[in-house]
Subunit: 190 residues, 2 copies
């Protein structure tokens, strides 16, 4: 017998958030109250019924699927001058860091840099041939990484472009890299 209502309602909110698949009946049993009480609680807390909750979860998943292609570019490009330079930002979230110490996994920074190197060329399509990168300082969840890519040189004979990329968090450099890109015009240059 919990200190009624307030406590129960906050527990209830938690529980449902944690597991939206629970029915009123199950909740009633768990809190030792009637189903009606649970319903009243849900009303007051504006928590939708089971089916609506499930539908919401499913719909979200569906939106994700639809927007998955967005994942093709890591980071949001905020400025670009084709064949010259480009800037993107990337907000590091909990999902990008090691659980153990909160430091961002290197490949996310690499992905942002690589995506930007590809984007700045965009000659139909560019592929990374080589790259040389340094992870200068650890990046953490919550950090906003600003990445700049600058075209440094070209070798038109071999269809190569050299790009320098630097990423920083609050004006401190966290990542540096050089990318050698191959630019292809026609399709299928296996």
């Amino acid at each position: 017998m919990k200190r009624s209502k307030k406590e129960r309602q906050s527990l209830l909110t938690e529980q449902i958030a944690e597991n939206p698949f629970v029915t009123d009946e199950q909740l009633a049993a768990e809190f030792n109250v009637s189903v009606q009480t649970i319903r009243l609680d849900r009303m007051e807390l504006a928590i939708p019924e089971l089916r609506e909750r499930i539908k919401d979860v499913a719909a979200k998943k569906y939106d994700e699927v639809k927007s998955l292609p967005l994942d093709e570019v890591i980071g949001e490009i905020i400025d670009i001058e084709l064949d010259n330079r480009a800037i993107s930002i990337f907000d590091v979230g909990e999902e990008h860091v090691f659980q153990r110490n909160g430091i961002a996994r290197g490949h996310h920074l690499f992905a942002q840099a690589n995506s930007l190197a590809v984007a700045v060329i965009d000659d139909e399509l560019a592929l990374t041939v080589k790259s040389n990168v340094a992870f200068v300082k650890p990046v953490r969840a919550g950090n906003r990484v600003v990445t700049k890519a600058v075209v440094k040189g070209k070798n038109p004979d071999k269809n190569r472009t050299f790009i320098e990329v630097t990423s920083s968090v609050e004006n401190e450099i966290v990542f540096k890299g050089e990318f050698e890109m191959y630019r292809m015009k026609g399709e299928e240059t296996t």
Copy 2:
């Protein structure tokens, strides 16, 4: 009036796969048949009812959330000898390639290599300091990338480990890289 049944059933399967949120009634209207017919079709095709479908989608999303930490490692590690060598495989899917030409984005290969380099050390935690990589041959959707990481040397004073990584598809090298890793024992080595 479609060439009944077979055609309708295959269309129906498609439709539901594409949009699981559709009710029997809507389908009946669309195919100009009765709701019962749709039900019979679903029976025959073993397609569950709307609510079950939605629940499945939601449950999948939920499983994903729970297993998201798995995403922390790109590729599946199939063999590992700590501090010595490790092998992982990674199946390239449509979601990893450029839509335009079907070639895998470099950062996915890098991610696999980087993850493996981290895993082979696993001294509480390893961070990538520098890396030098080459994308030797394009990789395509459907390819299975086998990646090997080998510890090449150490510099215990500076807590460094050098790792060589090679990835291949059907015994052809597609990616090579050298990784310089920093190994940390204690927490918080800001």
